[in-house]
Each structure stands twice: as C-alpha cells, then as structure tokens.
C-alpha cells in the first residue's frame, strides 16, 4: 500500500485546522470572544459549524461499520442523531439562547441559583466530554495505522496536539470557522468516494450484497434472548434526548444572535445532517458486496477506509483512501475540538480561574489559564484511549448520549418548561439519573453484554433512567416548594419572551 497520499491528506486537514484557527486568534480579544464568538455568528455559518462539530468518528466510520455488521436496524442510529436536533429545536433551542448563559453549568446556576447544582453539572460536562473524546482518539489511531502504517499511539496523539493548539489559540471564535469548514470537508470526503464506488459497482453489473434476510428487516433479534424492540426504542430515545444534553452541542447555541436565529440554525442543521447520513449506508452495502465476511482481526469500523483499495486497486483507490482519511481526520478534529472547548471552559471557570483571579484580576492571566485548561482537557481522555480496549466507536458514543439523556435532558426540559422545579428537585433528578445510568453502563462495560431482560435494560438505560430522573425531580420539587428559586418567574420571562419585546429588567445584556 502506498502511504504518501494519505499522509499528505491527513497533514493538509490538520494544517487547515491550525491555519483557520490562527485566523480566529487575530479576531479574539475579549474573554467573551473566547467563549461565544462575541455572539455574532450567522445562522448559516453556525449551522455548518454545529454539523461539523457533531459529525464525529462515530458518524464517519462507526455507523457504516455497524450497518455492515447488523444491517438495517443500525440505520436507527443516524436517524436518532438527526432527530436529536428536532427535539432540541422544539424543547430548548430558543429559550437556551435567551437564557444568556455560556455553558450548561451556567444555565443550571442561572436557572436554579445553586452553586451545588453548578458543580454537579460541571462534573457531568467533564465526564460526558471525556467519554465522548475517547472514541475520537481511538478512531484517529485506528485510521492512521490503517492508512499510513503508523504505530497505534500516533493518530490519537496528533489529534490531541492539534486540538489543544486550536482551542488554546483562539477559543470559540476560531473553532466556529474551523467547524464550518470541516463540515464541508467531511461531506465531500465521504460523498466523492461513495459516488465513484457506486459507479464502479454499476459497471460491474450491480451484484447484490451477500447477506442473510434478517439484515434487511428492522427489529430482527440477534439471538434467542435478545429484545430488539426495547433495545432500538431505548437507543433512539437516548439519542433524541441526549443530543440536547451534550456539552459541546448546546454551547453553540450561545453564539446565535437571538432565539429566532437559534431556531433557524437548527432547521439548517437538520438538513445538513440529513444529507450527510445518506452516505454511510452506501459504504455498508458496498462493504457487503466486497466482503461477505470480514477477514479475521479486521474491525467493522475500518470498512469505510478499506473499500476503495479493494474495489479499485491502483492510484485511483489510493486517492479515494487519502480523501477518506482526510475526511475522517476532519471528523476527529472537529468533534474533539468542540468537546475539548466545553471541557476546557469548565476546567477554566471552575478550577483555574477562581485561583488565578485571587492573585491578579484582568484578562491576560485569564487567557493563560484557559490555555492550561485546554491541555488538561485533552491529555486525560488520550491516556484513557491508550489504556483501554475500544468498544466500537459508535457504541462508546452511544453511552455518552445515554448519560446525557438521563441527566441534562431532564434538567433542561423541566428547567425551561416547569415553573415549580425546586433546587432540591433538580439536584435529586441529576443525581438519580446520573448514578443509575452510569452504574448500568459501567456494569455493561465491565461484565460484557448479557442476554435477557437484565442485559437489555442495563445496556440501554435511557428508556427507564430518563423517566426515573424526571419523576424524581418532579416529586422532590412538589415536596419542597420552599426551595423553588425566588427568581423563577423572572427567568421564565427571559427564556420565553421574544427579543423584540423590550424588557428593561428581565433581559441580560450580552
């Protein structure tokens, strides 16, 4: 295999990320630029940026691999990833923008006026962010090893360094440009090889994929003890609700100019994601044509990268592989920088800034602390990615969604729509949802998948953990009416009143 083309392509993507990030550096001056790009990002740019950030290793490589493995049922994953934005749109998009908060912990504190809830939210942001970063590093290592023959530690390391530099250099403003560019890199890099491979397939007489019938039928059980309907429904619920609770997703909403902009951005995001998710099934189906079964030792996460050189030996195949490798790196870099940005923000605000400002006020030391936080944010998940065995890219990402669905989703839904939410209720909901979902998932990771109802319930906790968290929050809130934050009405006025209505006291100035 000739590695040169792929090395050039990956290097180009990394360089673009750094150069475009550097442009942002010149524009970022105030601290608020670092967090929310000064709130002047247009819906179209923001939509590209959100989609660019969202489409991760799981979408670029993992979805095609899972569809290859398990067939049509895995199409529910991209459907859930996309519908997550529909749910986010109708539940939180505009109110979240109007809340005037920078991050999820900011929102939690503004809505409930509790430092303790802020702290728990911050821990969750870091936990979910790190869990989501691990498969990005694993995907990068796997890709670089496959397309360049580099040792396994290199790919993740490259992504870690580029992300730390880009985030530390320009913060959110640079990341917004970087992310927007990366959406288009990713779509092109996945679409062009897909069309070329499809054309080749037509020319060779369109042979049918070699599969057994269950590959084409949704909700077919994997084994005698499987519960496909529950498994699928719980997964889709986790993805639909988890999206709004992902720390790197909601941060982008603070960069919209107003609530209307936040909604319009989301509609465009749904269109951009829909276009992208038409592509992975093509790779899965062509994969079944090219390899009826995978050679031993080959993970299904790599079939996207393997297909071109199998179907098109020679320079053409190498070019397509290089293109896919570049696109895959765009996916790792964009998601990892978005996540790193959120985790950095939390570490900076919760851990470093309180200490730095004790010694010296002002903006400059603040930004230095931000850079230290950026390094901390990526180095720990990189270490975890090296120390643990990969569960499969899309599977690990699914776990992060499930935890977000059981914790932040109830907090946001009740926080935005229910006036009687009390501080204790919100805290109880976060703790119950967070503990049960984390334990269920931890158990599944530690003991491996089990059969029967126990296994199904533990591996897919969203369907019971999320309602449990909501019910806990509501019951505890109703039992502790004296703990309803005093400013609740003011917050609700701010969240729901359109910007064109002038409110002298209730608005927060940006």
């Amino acid at each position: 295999m000739n590695y040169t083309l792929s090395i050039v392509s990956v290097a180009l993507v990394c360089l673009t990320t750094l150069v475009v990030g550097g442009l942002g550096l010149r524009l970022s001056r105030r601290t608020s630029d670092f967090y929310v790009a000064g709130r002047t990002v247009s819906p179209r740019l923001n939509a590209s940026a959100i989609s660019g950030e969202y489409l991760s290793a799981a979408s670029f490589l993992g979805v095609a691999g899972l569809i290859y493995d398990e067939g049509v049922d895995m199409l529910w994953l991209p459907v859930g990833y996309t519908l997550g934005y529909l749910v986010l749109l109708v539940v939180v998009a505009a109110p979240m923008r109007r809340s005037g908060a920078y991050t999820l912990p900011d929102f939690a504190e503004a809505r409930l006026g509790s430092r303790a809830i802020r702290l728990v939210s911050s821990l969750l942001v870091v936990g979910i962010g790190w869990l989501y970063l691990v498969p990005q590093f694993q995907g990068a290592s796997l890709t670089l090893t496959l397309v360049t023959g580099a040792p396994a530690w290199v790919g993740g390391f490259v992504v870690m360094v580029v992300v730390a530099l880009a985030v530390g250099a320009g913060g959110m403003r640079s990341i917004t440009f970087v992310q927007a560019v990366q959406y288009w890199i990713k779509v092109t890099a996945l679409a062009v090889p897909a069309f070329v491979l499809l054309a080749l397939w037509f020319r060779s007489g369109s042979p049918a994929p070699q599969v057994d019938p269950s590959w084409n039928i949704p909700m077919s059980p994997n084994g005698p003890d499987d519960h496909p309907t529950y498994r699928t429904a719980s997964t889709v619920l986790a993805l639909c609700l988890g999206t709004m609770g992902l720390p790197h997703v909601l941060v982008r909403y603070y960069t919209n100019p107003d609530g209307l902009g936040a909604r319009r951005t989301t509609v465009t995001v749904i269109a951009l994601l829909g276009v992208f998710y038409l592509l992975p099934p093509i790779y899965a189906a062509l994969g079944r044509v090219a390899y009826p079964t995978l050679p031993p030792g080959v993970g299904s996460d790599t079939i996207v990268l393997r297909l071109p050189e199998t179907l098109l030996p020679g320079l053409g195949g190498q070019l397509l592989t290089a293109m896919l490798a570049g696109g895959a790196f765009a996916a790792f870099l964009s998601t990892a920088s978005g996540l790193a940005m959120s985790v950095t923000g939390v570490i900076d605000q919760e851990v470093l800034r309180p200490r730095v400002t004790r010694f010296a006020g002002g903006d400059v030391p603040g930004i230095r602390g931000f850079r230290v936080a950026a390094i901390l944010a990526v180095i720990i998940p990189y270490a975890v990615s090296r120390a643990t065995e990969s569960l499969g890219l899309a599977t690990t990402v699914g776990l992060a969604f499930a935890i977000a669905a059981a914790t932040f989703a109830p907090l946001l839904m009740l926080g935005v729509w229910w006036r009687r939410l009390s501080t204790w209720g919100a805290m109880a909901g976060l703790l119950v949802g967070g503990t049960t979902a984390t334990l269920a998932i931890g158990w599944t990771i530690a003991t491996g998948p089990e059969g029967g109802w126990t296994g199904a319930l533990l591996a897919n906790p969203a369907m019971w953990a999320t309602p449990l968290a909501i019910a806990t929050a509501m019951i505890v809130s109703l039992a502790t009416p004296s703990r309803i934050p005093a400013g609740t009405t003011r917050t609700m006025v701010r969240l729901h009143t359109p910007e064109r209505v002038a409110l002298a006291r209730s608005r927060i100035r940006d």
Binding site: T82, I217, T266
Partner: protein
C-alpha cells in the same frame, strides 16, 4: 382600563404579566408536544407497518428494500419539513404575543 403596555407587567412580574407569560408558555409547549407526538407516531409507524403488512418487509421501492428507503432516506426530508413548520408556527406565536404585549 390598562393604560400601559403589558410588557411592563411582564418585566415587573405583576399578576397580569404572569397570566400572559403562562399563555405564551402554554401555546409554545402545546406546539412542541405536537411535534414530538408526530415524530413518535412517524417512527412507530415503520415497525407497526412491517408487523401488520408482512409484504412490506420484502417489498422494494425503486430497487431498494422498503425499510432501507424509509429509515435511510425518507426520514430526513420529513424531519426537515417538520422542523421548518415548527419554526414558522413558533415565530407566529411570538409575533402575536409581541403585538399584544407591546400595544399601549
């Protein structure tokens, strides 16, 4: 007769302002619940159809198996149309609200 715009009541959290806020939230929430209900029904329709009409399990549409066409292609434009419809309705609710509360 009320001589000043209701937006002042909203801002100052009077009982009247509260009534208007409740009305706005209820209208928006009703719209959101409608969209979510439509989504759930739309998603559940596929497995229900496949179970009730077994022929759809092996049926092909323009050469592709029916379940692939629904889950791989058709859901995305449907989600987009639903999102656009929601956004327009939500903007209309806000427009009406703004006109009422800003009227002197």
């Amino acid at each position: 007769m009320h001589a000043r715009p209701v937006s002042r009541d909203l801002d100052e959290q009077t009982e009247l302002g509260d009534v208007y806020l409740d009305g706005l939230m209820r209208a928006q929430l009703r719209l959101s619940v409608a969209v979510i209900a439509l989504t759930v029904v739309g998603l559940a329709a596929l497995p229900v159809t496949l179970a009730l009409v077994p022929a759809t399990r092996t049926m092909t549409v323009v050469g592709l198996p029916f379940p692939w066409v629904v889950l791989g292609i058709a859901v995305y434009p449907a989600a987009w149309f639903l999102a656009r419809w929601y956004t327009r309705q939500a903007e209309r609710i806000e427009q009406d609200f703004a006109e009422v509360v800003d009227a002197p």
